[in-house]
């Protein structure tokens, strides 16, 4: 399998602040699902922010190659158009911007980048209906402004719906399970599972083992104090559940 994402010695800090990532090495191949786990403050969200190009972080060392390109050299919007998707831990409410209008602008921006024809209103609606059906969600979310008045679960489902529409090569799910009750977690997980694809890599960042009961990963990594300190296959997650991070931290 070809390497979709190659991270080598990645170091980053919060702008003018402390160093959070202290040398990350990670390879992700197309078709794989990786879980990155770890305690609070380990650098999980910083990693997803740096990969997505969020302002406020400084890369101080290392490289990230995405489909052979220098990912860190691209602005955030270009990364997205090239197929990198971040499902936000806290999706942003944007009053006055209609969800459908926003999504069509995003979708067509990506299509332009790839040299594809833009979808007209009718083609776009057709694509929307297909994805809604795939993810088994109602269309009431679409009439509202982006994330405005959505419950926590609705926001997370909207993220997965956007992922389904934008069809990224690399999806980074940042604590997508946080704040969800068991029904919402199941619904979101089912959505993600339906979006698993031999051409797509998924990196899910989570604090909790329970997400991995629903989305079974190919690889599990433990991030502690800015480094990946242990990795394993899906059985490793169950082991972690028994032993906890502290033990691993000592062992690392």
């Amino acid at each position: 399998m070809s390497k979709l994402l190659e991270i080598r010695g990645l170091r980053a800090r919060i702008a003018n602040g402390r160093e959070v990532l202290k040398g990350i090495d990670l390879d992700v191949a197309a078709g794989e699902v990786h879980a990155i786990m770890g305690p609070n403050g380990a650098g999980k969200s910083t990693l997803s922010s740096v990969l997505a190009g969020k302002p406020g972080y400084e890369v101080t060392g290392g490289t990230v190659r995405y489909l052979g390109q220098d990912l860190l050299a691209m602005p955030a919007d270009e990364r997205a158009r090239e197929g990198v998707f971040l499902a936000f831990q806290y999706p942003v409410e944007i009053p006055g911007v209609n969800n459908m209008y926003f999504l069509r602008a995003a979708l067509n921006a990506g299509r332009r980048q790839r040299g594809q024809a833009e979808l007209d209103a009718q083609q776009f609606l057709k694509a929307v209906r297909e994805r809604l059906k795939l993810l088994d969600i109602g269309d009431d979310l679409l009439r509202r402004a982006v994330n405005v008045g959505f419950s926590g679960g609705e926001k997370k489902r909207n993220e997965i719906f956007q992922m389904a529409m934008l069809e990224p090569n690399l999806a980074i799910l940042d604590e997508t399970d946080s704040g969800l009750d068991i029904d919402a977690l199941r619904a979101v997980s089912d959505g993600v599972n339906r979006l698993r694809d031999p051409a797509r890599a998924i990196v899910m960042i989570t604090h909790y083992q329970r997400l991995l009961d629903y989305i079974v990963p190919d690889r599990v990594h433990v991030l502690a104090d800015g480094r990946i300190v242990a990795s394993g296959d899906k059985t490793f997650a169950a082991e972690l559940e028994r032993t906890g991070y502290a033990y691993l931290g000592d062992a690392a």
Binding site: K54, P75, I94, V97, V146
Partner: protein
């Protein structure tokens, strides 16, 4: 009196007006009084509280003067009809175009009027029905309104008899190339209803100085959309005075994007019980533009409502000013008044002054006012970019979302809302950064 005063540049124009108009003696007397009043007052200065934030220098330095009337035969240098097209309402209207403050029949399309409706230029009204305008000129006007009353030659009169509902909107285009002192008189009888769209535009950096006098009878409803889209070098001053009887409703929407210097003063008197005044609006400015929206609502009756929501978008080195006063008279119990002014600064050089005020002399009232000044939300910008939308488009989407609310919340009829949105998009395309 001093040898020279602010009225000096206007004396010739004033004599010309007196020489050319044929009008009742009471009006000529009125004009002389107003000219004297302007000579006494002069242009407002920043020492006056209400004008503290407004820089009139671009106007006072060289006030544009009214051009001589176009030849009656219609030769002239008026605007080409096609140049008006982007500004017209996408629906049937009764259209009156004023070029430099004078009715231009060739550009207008009045259409047949239902009975009980008087819609005509001011000059024609003064010829045929001068009685309709007697008493429509206020005493003790502010300087700009006084100058308007002295120098006006034309304008529009809309009068509806009680109970008449004028379905088709009245569309008034002010096209200004030199100077225009136009008047707008609207009088709706009890229960009458009308919709008026007023668009101010032009070329060549002129000066539009309009006065609107509105009187709404019991239960009358006036919807009034004002689009100020003057030439970027132009000056625009407008005073609107409205009086509302019992249960009357004045639904106003103002979209201000044009002019180097712009000032709109609205004074609304809620005289009857249960009267309602709603104003939704936005000023969207760039470059060196300055715009002031000054609104005073006087609550005299019982149980009246005022709702003002004004948005400001300020790019470049522009300056926006919102002055809002709600005054509740003794005994005006049950007043419900809300004022909100929200501003978005798009550049470090842009400025805003906002002053919502309450003067409450009654006991049982519900009043709120607020003002905010902020910049585009970084988290929202990143969210849009994280979905592949480029930074410029992302900013535009957020600015449009902020401003379009002023139009949506106004609850305008579809065609008017479409016109307003079209104008907002034109502004966004023209250089919001």
């Amino acid at each position: 009196m001093l040898m020279t005063d602010d009225s000096a540049p206007f004396r010739d124009a004033f004599d010309q007006v007196l020489a050319t108009v044929a009008e009742p003696a009471w009006l000529t007397t009125r004009r002389r009084a107003e000219m004297d009043r302007f000579a006494l007052l002069g242009f407002p200065t920043r020492r006056q509280e209400a004008w503290r934030f407004t820089d009139l220098e671009p106007l006072i330095a060289a006030p544009p003067l009214p051009a001589p009337p176009l030849p009656a035969a219609g030769g002239g240098d008026g605007p080409a009809p096609a140049s008006l097209a982007p500004w017209l309402l996408p629906a049937p209207t009764h259209r009156l175009v004023l070029v430099d403050g004078r009715f231009a029949p060739a550009l207008s399309a009045g259409g047949a009027l239902p009975t009980g409706v008087w819609l005509a230029p001011v000059a024609e009204t003064l010829r045929r029905r001068p009685d309709m305008l007697e008493g429509a000129f206020g005493d003790g006007e502010e300087a700009f309104a006084a100058l308007n009353a002295a120098l006006f030659t034309d304008g529009v009169v809309l009068a509806l008899e009680p109970g008449v509902v004028l379905e088709t909107p009245v569309e008034i285009i002010h096209h200004t190339m030199s100077a225009a002192h136009a008047r707008l008189h609207i009088a709706l009888g009890a229960g009458a209803q009308a919709t008026v769209v007023e668009t101010a535009m032009g070329t060549g950096g002129g000066w539009g100085n309009t006065v609107g006098v509105i009187s709404l009878g019991a239960g009358a409803v006036l919807t009034h959309l004002h689009i100020q889209a003057e030439d970027p070098a132009a000056c625009h001053t407008a005073a609107v005075r409205a009086a509302l009887a019992d249960q009357a409703r004045y639904e106003a929407c103002a979209l201000i994007t044009g002019g180097r210097l712009s000032r709109r003063d609205m004074a609304v008197t809620l005289a009857g019980d249960g009267a309602q005044f709603r104003l939704h609006g936005a000023y969207l400015l760039d470059g060196e533009q300055e715009a002031t929206l000054s609104v005073r609502a006087d609550h005299l009756g019982l149980g009246c409502r005022t709702e003002e929501v004004v948005k400001g978008v300020l790019a470049g080195a522009s300056h926006g000013v919102f002055l809002g006063t709600v005054a509740v008279a003794p005994g005006a119990d049950g007043t419900d008044a809300r004022q909100l002014n929200r501003n978005l600064l798009l550049s470090p050089q842009a400025r805003v002054d906002t002053k919502p005020e309450l003067e409450i002399l009654a006991d049982d009232v519900k009043c709120s006012h607020g003002a905010t000044v902020g910049s585009l939300d970084e988290a929202s910008l990143f969210y849009l970019q994280a979905r592949g939308i480029d930074p410029e488009t992302a900013r535009r989407m957020l600015v449009e979302a902020f401003a379009v609310d002023a139009i949506d919340a106004a609850g305008l009829p579809d065609a008017l809302a479409a016109l307003a949105r079209r104008h907002l998009r034109r502004w966004l395309d023209g250089g919001a950064s």
